[in-house]
Each structure stands twice: as structure tokens, then as C-alpha cells.
Subunit: 360 residues, 2 copies
Amino acid sequence: MDRRIREHAETLVDWSARIESGENVVVSVTEGTHELAVAVVAALGERGANVHTTYGSDELSRAYFEAHGGEFDADPAHELAVYENADTVLRLGGGRNTAELAAVDPEKQRAYGEAREGIREARTDTDWVSTVHPTRSLAQQAGMSIADYREFVYDAVLRDWQSFADEMAQMKQVLDAGTEVRVENEGTDLTMRIDGRTAVNSCASVAYDSHNLPSGEVFTAPYATEGHVTFDVPMTVRGKPIRDARFEFDDGEVTGIEAAQGEDVLREIVETDDGSRRLGELGIGMNRGIDRTTDSILFDEKMGGTVHLALGRAYDSNHPEGESGNDSAVHVDLITDMRGESRLAVDGETVQEDGQFRWE
Amino acid sequence: MDRRIREHAETLVDWSARIESGENVVVSVTEGTHELAVAVVAALGERGANVHTTYGSDELSRAYFEAHGGEFDADPAHELAVYENADTVLRLGGGRNTAELAAVDPEKQRAYGEAREGIREARTDTDWVSTVHPTRSLAQQAGMSIADYREFVYDAVLRDWQSFADEMAQMKQVLDAGTEVRVENEGTDLTMRIDGRTAVNSCASVAYDSHNLPSGEVFTAPYATEGHVTFDVPMTVRGKPIRDARFEFDDGEVTGIEAAQGEDVLREIVETDDGSRRLGELGIGMNRGIDRTTDSILFDEKMGGTVHLALGRAYDSNHPEGESGNDSAVHVDLITDMRGESRLAVDGETVQEDGQFRWE
């Protein structure tokens, strides 16, 4: 076995999930992630954790959706009970065909998700962590050979996370003390309020309220957004390509949308509900192990020198205990690449210029 | 997809498990059974069942066992809760290497099984069904090409189960009315009492208290066994080959063991506890779709023209409601091939001669 798979598993189990003896862990194995699963289960065995292993496959999902009538029972008890009784869920993403669900009725998928809202909540109430095993399908999606894609994934994942967390703490400190963020970039001049919010140092560990491996961003929940922003990082959203999307904001709400590609999808998203007209997240990508975009949000939004904004739902972790932020059925991230002529400032002080943080 | 995979899935879901809309089903996917899983999940979707999919792999088990210290928590709540809240568990057996656990400490495996006794009970309290997908590893174990092995499996699985069940009902009737069974074969002359016991028509459906697909045997729980028996069907038990094992019985208990190979393993099994010295099962194989032994108990014991006996634990289903039969930590089946000069008689009446039932 590639020694990097073992290191990945150990990073997931120790740094990210902080697994201790006797914990009840769900390992969610996805098609194509068997090798990582073997390493993860070995690491869990060594820590004395109790393992329940689930299987996820878009091929199974497609078969189920196509056969099912579309009226789904709410939160089936056997599935709900797993997560209600789990301490941690480790999701090993991967898969063998990112287009497997292309022809599945989106209405059915939506209804299924809605019927399982309680299961989703129970799962996200655990110390969950999502990671990705470099499968050929994901390499293809990224336009890379499997060998290069493995390098790419492990460069992002196998880091000295503690020292990276310390570096990101500087960004969190700036945001926590700040009132207004201004993002200037080609086609972008946007201001947002962030006072009263707490930034999350998302360094890929549940100990920091961070649930992705890799991570490497600091995010908060902005409001009172004004100005315009251009998202120049190519993305696929709801199966459709999005290119050079420009949004106008006034008094915190979207007032205009234009895009070279995917404008329809973006309008559909913004019109979902009240909350989808507002931003739920401002994230600052800081992971220098990620040096290119690969049309995968898990990686793209973490890339050092990018800034992303999400339409829709905000995270509770950015708000005072017991308070919730912007509420919406959607949370859709869009990214602007700051590595050209650009500036990120908090209360008028430059934090990042042309993609370089002031402490770099 | 091979149309036989779909037929297998439909037989499992409809004939075997009798799935109805709204049932909570666990599909236990084993390494190498993905294709059958797709077909099963499609059939479950069509019936409107709720699916939770688990992943089993000897490779994961080996990794876990080797890494774990060996003190296992009793019945971890997240795993237990799945089965306590499930109506049905469909186990898709398969795998990619039957020798994967060869070097794992058997003591650890035993301790693990013991710690999960409650989970095992919760699982067998559901309408569970075990079946097998023809993987290359199982073909190899059977000494067959994958193409021939597929033929073999589907010949056993894809039957007219209703008319087969009707045929087997004749055998059940004979056993239910009978007092003493006598088995005569080369190296075998054995008598057992069966009065007070109810035979199970094991026709691969939970509606008949039968939990294997394929099945095709009628079994009961014998006692007061006298005489000797030779098990001439080659088997692997606890990883060791068993060849031509001869047992002596007196007053229901084993009084002598000899074997061309595997005598040690057999002695070890018989000495497990009080119940392991006695028989827990007498089974009569009736599935004519199985025409050869393949060193797989799921198939071998169902082969038409064989008789098997199990040392150890008896099934509750052979006893009056609320009563239990022979109790033991083990249940080990051994088989004698009746297709030569032989006789199976109940209360002196011949039921089968030279491997042919009197109604055939």
C-alpha cells in the first residue's frame, strides 16, 4: 500500500477526528475508496474504536432513485439510529463516475434529501469529517492523470496541520476583531459587515469546528453586503458549468446576476427562498498545498490566494451560542481567484495583496 | 448487466425476504458484490423499501483485527441500533480472497464475536436472508472458472421456488410424523430420535423460517443418536481441510472420532462445551440445481442426495414455541453423500434410496 494512504488515514483519525478508545465510529466507504478504508479501519482498530462501515455508491443511488416511486418515508429508524448512536462519522469520498446521477430526476433527489433531514442533522451532530480518496473518476474530473492527481490530493492533505492552524489563527484574529471586509479584484469591489460574528479556523480538525480534510480556510458569516463580485474560478453546480459569474449586491441582497455560462442555474439558486438571496459565508482559502483548481469544491475553496462566498445557509459556528444566521435550503459556494492584482482588507488594513497574505 | 443478476435480486427481495413498502432494510454489501447490490437496491426501490447499506470486507476485518488490542467493547450502540430498528437484513456474500483472515489470531476473532453477541441476536431477530454473488474468489475456492461458477450459482438460486417448496413439504410431513430416522450409507449406520420436533421446510424464504438463498433442505433437531457415520464430502472447517471423518455416537453423544484429515479440528470442536458433543441438526439436501460440492456449506448442504448433521447448537424453529434445543457455542455441519448405495428411512419406511427420494 502507498505509504501516503496510511498517512492520510492517520491524519484523518488523529488530527481531524481525534478518535479515542471506545468511540463509536461510522466509516462511510464510497465506491472506489476501499484502499483508504482499509487504512482507516486499521488506524481505528489501533485506537480501540468501534467501527460500523456503510457503503455509498452513486450507482446504487441511481438504481434506487430510478426504481422508487418518489414518496420517501421520513428518516427511516434504522438509518437514523446509526447516527444518533455514533460519536464520529468519517466519510471517504471517491466514486467511479461523477456523472452517474446525471439523468436522475432532481425532484426525486430533493424529496429524498428532504425526507432525510433528521438523518442529516443527526450525522452533522457527530464529530463528522469528510475526506476524499484520489480515484480515477476524480482525476478525470480534474483533468489530470491518476498519478498527478494523487500528488495533488496528498499535497493538500498531508501537511503539518498544527503549524498551519497557527498560521490561520492570525487570519481568524483579524476577522474576529474586524467590522468590515473589502474584497477588490478584477471585476470585484465588494464590502461586507462581519462584526458580531466569530471566524472559524478551519484547519481540518473537529477540535477547531472544521469538518473537511483537506481544509485550510478561515470563514465567517458576512451580512450587509454591498457592491459587485466576479467569480472567475470555473465550477460545476448542479451538473452545469458556471463561468465568470458576476453578482451585484445591495443592502445584503443579490440585485443582479450575469454569467458567461450557467446564469440560469444561478438565478434558480438565488430564487430558492429568502435566505438564498443573501450570503451565508465568506471564506478565505489559505492552503498552499493546493496550487490549482480542479472543479471540486472541497479543494478549490481551500486554495491559498482565493476567496469564496456562499449564497444561502450560514454556519451556526460563526454565531454566538444559541443563535443562528442566514437560513436557507441551499449553500452554494462560488470562488474568486485573488492571485492577480487584488486586495483583501479588513477595516481599511490590507490583509492580502495580489494573493499574498501580509505575513507570508 | 447479466439478466440473471436481476433475477437473483428479485428472487431475494420477493420470494426470500417478502419485502413490502415502508420496510427498513439493511443491505450488507460484501467486497466484490457491487453488481448484485445495484440490482437488489433497484428491486428494493421499486417495492418502496428504506435502504441502509453496510460494507463488509475480510480485508477491512483483517486490518482491524491486526491493529486492535483484543479487548472489544460489548455491542457498540451505533451498530446494535441499526439491527434493532431493521425489519430485514439482506446479506450479499462474496469477497475477493477466502484466505484473507488466514493469519488473524482466532482468539481475537472469537472475542470479537462474543462481544457482539447482542448484535448477532438483533440481526437474526430480523427477517434476514443470506445469499452469495458469484465472485472470482468463490469460483477459485470451488475449483471452477468464473463462467462455470456463475452457471452453478444461478442453477441453485433461480428455481421455481414455490413448486420446490411444495415438493419439500412431503419430506417435512414425513419427518413431522416420524419418531426415528435411520441413515445407512458406506461407513454409516446411524439412528436418531426426532419425535416432538418440527421439521423446517427450508425453501429460501422467511415465510418458511428459511434464511439462505439458495436453500433447498428440510431439517430437524435430532436427539438420542446411536451408531456411526462417515462424512465423505470434503470440507474446509476453521481454515483446515476435513476428509472422511467418522464419528461414533452413543446415547446422543460423540464417543469416537477418526478422520483422514482434520481430526484435531474436529476434536477441538466437539470439546467446546457440553452441547458440542451432541447433534443440533439433521438436514436433508433436496436442491437438484446443485450437482456438485464446492467446499461452500451454503451450497453443499443443500445438494440433492446429501444428508448433513451439525454438531452443536440447534435451531429454535425445530422446537415448540418457547422451548430451546441443544445449546452450544458452535454449529458445525458435516455432510455425507447418499448418491451411492444408501438408504434413508423414517420409522422403517424408506424415504430415499441411493440418493433418490421415493417421489422422484
